[in-house]
Amino acid sequence: MQPFDRFTLMQFLWAALSILGFSIRVNLKGSKILLLALGGGLSWAFYLIFLYYSDSLLYSIFGASILVCAYSEIVARAVKVPVSVFVTCVIIPLVPGSSLYYAMQAYIAGNHAAASVHIYKALLISGTIAMAIAVVSSVTNIIYRLFNRF
């Protein structure tokens, strides 16, 4: 798989479409839902690209979350939407729903070793996303304060 081939583009489109659907479900209106969809697509595309170059799951999740959180801090301020609204929507593709499902499936099948692996993965991914969000929001706070001071 190449990082910028048709596959990545299609995945980008699907992620963007699913976030479009999600933002309509939570009742957001206007042209900003297109920006949200773009952010959702970008988060998944960044993840795929990072995964291609680094071959490390957590590093890719961390990098993609950092980039997409920075994107949403900037864009949310530009279109005057609360930042938390933006971050919530664009981070959704990275949320480990599939690990949760596979863990549960392995437990049902009685395969405790595989289940523990998946649960561990889900916890690590959530922790990584949490770290990325925390880093970006703290850094933005500092930058904001510096700008207000000078």
Binding site: I24, K29, P82, I92, L100, Y101, I133, A134
Partner: protein
């Protein structure tokens, strides 16, 4: 040109806080917004304490009067659009309507404005239901599904959104709703599997589950903890954890039941 008295200011501020918290804003944001509004109304000495299930607000005019109110928050429902509109309104209050405690609108007019935001028409039901299908279908493709699986996931998403809407009318609690939702995802997927040949259920069920995953509670938990609101941070983290466990339990029990039945 009027000056709101302390009771009206408290009432309006609590109302703003209630709408924000019910639609899923972080504690820090609610406190900030309420403080902004009170300052614009001319009561800068305001203290507030917000948890996910209640608001404490104490407004003082710095002379002899102090009013403290508590608001219990029930039936929270995610509505990010409302948060955005309230934020815009607070911004307007700060910049336009109120200058140094003197407001160009009276309390009734502010209340009417809030009422207007509260009653603003959401998207029509059919559109949100179709979008539920779009979300689950696209997540199915994202995790490696085929086009046939996309179709099935779309149908599952639509059916689940429909039944969640119906369950929401029954006013059952959030936790039970997620268990039932996950169980329904699995049942609908299994039922459609009987009709449509040659599909794998894994991606379809994951697509359906992504509709229910508590992403907002999770992000809010992190942001609350980072801004120092430890109580609401931990409360929301536990909420997210419980919902995730509920989803796993619901779908797991249903999968096992179908497996016992012989599918």
């Amino acid at each position: 040109m009027t000056r709101l008295n302390i009771k009206e200011a408290t009432e309006l501020t609590l109302e703003i806080g209630r709408i924000l918290l019910q639609s899923g804003a972080t504690a820090n944001r609610v406190e900030l917004m309420m403080h902004k509004v009170c300052t614009s109304f001319g009561y800068p000495h305001t203290e507030s304490y917000v948890t996910p299930t209640g608001i404490f607000l104490s407004v003082s005019d710095n002379r002899d009067q102090i009013t403290t109110s508590i608001k219990r928050i029930e039936n929270r429902r995610i509505d990010l659009g409302k948060i955005t509109r309230i934020s815009h309104m607070v911004h307007d209050v700060e910049k336009e309507f109120c200058k140094g405690g003197i407001c160009s609108l009276n309390a009734e007019q502010f209340k009417a404005k809030l009422q207007q935001i509260e009653n603003e028409k959401p998207y029509p039901n059919w559109l949100t239901i179709l979008c539920g299908g779009l979300t689950s279908g696209c997540f199915c493709l994202l995790f490696g599904g085929s086009w046939a699986e996309f179709g099935v996931a779309y149908a599952v998403g639509v059916l689940v959104s429909l039944s969640l809407r119906f369950l929401g009318k029954l006013q059952i609690n959030n936790f039970l709703m997620h268990i039932l939702g996950a169980a329904l995802v699995v049942s609908f997927a299994k039922l459609l599997d009987l009709v449509v040949p040659g599909i794998k259920l894994d991606n379809i069920i994951i697509g359906g589950i992504m509709l229910l995953v508590p992403g907002l509670a999770f992000v809010n938990a992190i942001r609350d903890t980072m801004s120092g609101d430890l109580v609401s941070g931990t409360a929301r983290a536990v909420e997210a954890l419980f919902l995730a466990v509920g989803i796993a339990a619901g779908s797991g029990v249903m999968l096992k039941l179908w497996a016992l039945w012989g599918f």
